[in-house]
Symmetry: C2
Subunit: 166 residues, 2 copies
DNA sequence: GTCGCTGCAAAGTCTTTGCAGAGAG
DNA sequence: CTCTCTGCAAAGACTTTGCAGCGAC
């Protein structure tokens, strides 16, 4: 089995394209393109992270101190973006949802329980098996999500160092 | 690729065993074995479903109308059981967590977005790929979860019928 | 101008916590 | 007996909603 089927961190679309698509989408539903919606999308795009609504709101406040964007607007916009499949939400063990742009190539998540870092990957063999399984059951697959939880390399090394110190 | 590697609904342990393990676990941490904890575990075992704390609480009230078990106790016990890896929680798109006994063989989930039904499955090929991926990154896998969302066979058929009627 | 959008604050959910009495060991 | 658990109600966290004024088109 070759490793070439695994791709990490594959970003495939450009912001301008995303923005245009978003505008088209809004127009189609008779919705308005507001500065708040633009900033939320842009911030989500620039932050290559998985953000909670709260974190996204704080980030926006930091980057645009003169603008006042309410947390309610963040929630409303994220709901809109999720409905439109522009972003995807990821639910975690503890509490809260995290959002990420969903327009990139579909991918799964490796989550470090120590430092919270999330690594994305795509694996063809897994995707194929998913299709095989759903096909066998006559199940129509619309989406899927996979998370692997554990300890990343860095944190393992950090632990070793700490143990030696003691 | 053979289909024999897929196993659906594999239940592997008995309640008596589970109960003994739970008692041992409690003793080890100087915790007490109470009727509430027993009923919560038992109800979770007998219900072969994925339950929210709320649903579990209601089910207990229905099955044991003379007992008064507070919702707070359900939350506290589920947290305890999750910490001890007796149950696993599953987070959903919308809101809330669902719990299931985690002592069965590890499995993934097929979730119907139409009727909410959850089917469990295990696929060796996917498990192998997961190991391969984490190994390549030096990531220590502790757990993983996979959900496939879509429309189950029954609901697809139901939809077709409804469309014909109109 | 119209009608959707926003910020604010208030209202909902869902979950956790403090406390005094009950009960397991 | 001791010390943890429990139920209750109150507090908290997170999210949604109502509303009046604002702003995109």
């Amino acid at each position: 089995m070759s490793n070439t089927t695994i791709n990490f961190q594959d970003r495939t679309i450009e912001y301008q394209q995303l923005l245009e698509d978003f505008k088209t989408l809004l127009k189609k539903s008779n919705l308005k393109f507001t500065i708040q919606r633009e900033i939320i999308l842009e911030t989500l795009y620039n932050s290559n992270e998985h953000l909670t609504p709260e974190a996204l709101h704080q980030l926006i406040q930091k980057q645009h101190p003169n603008l006042k964007i309410g947390i309610a607007t963040v929630y409303r916009t994220l709901a809109l973006l999720e409905e439109s499949n522009v972003v995807t939400s990821l639910s975690f063990g503890a509490q809260g949802k995290k959002y990420e742009l969903g327009a990139k190539e579909h991918h799964d998540h490796l989550i470090c329980l120590e430092c919270g870092q999330i690594t994305e990957f795509v694996d063809e063999a897994i995707e194929k098996r998913q299709h095989a399984i759903t096909h066998e059951l006559g199940f129509k697959m619309l989406d899927h999500s996979m998370q692997i939880y554990g300890i990343c390399k860095k944190c393992q090394e950090k632990k070793l160092t700490t143990e030696k110190e003691n």
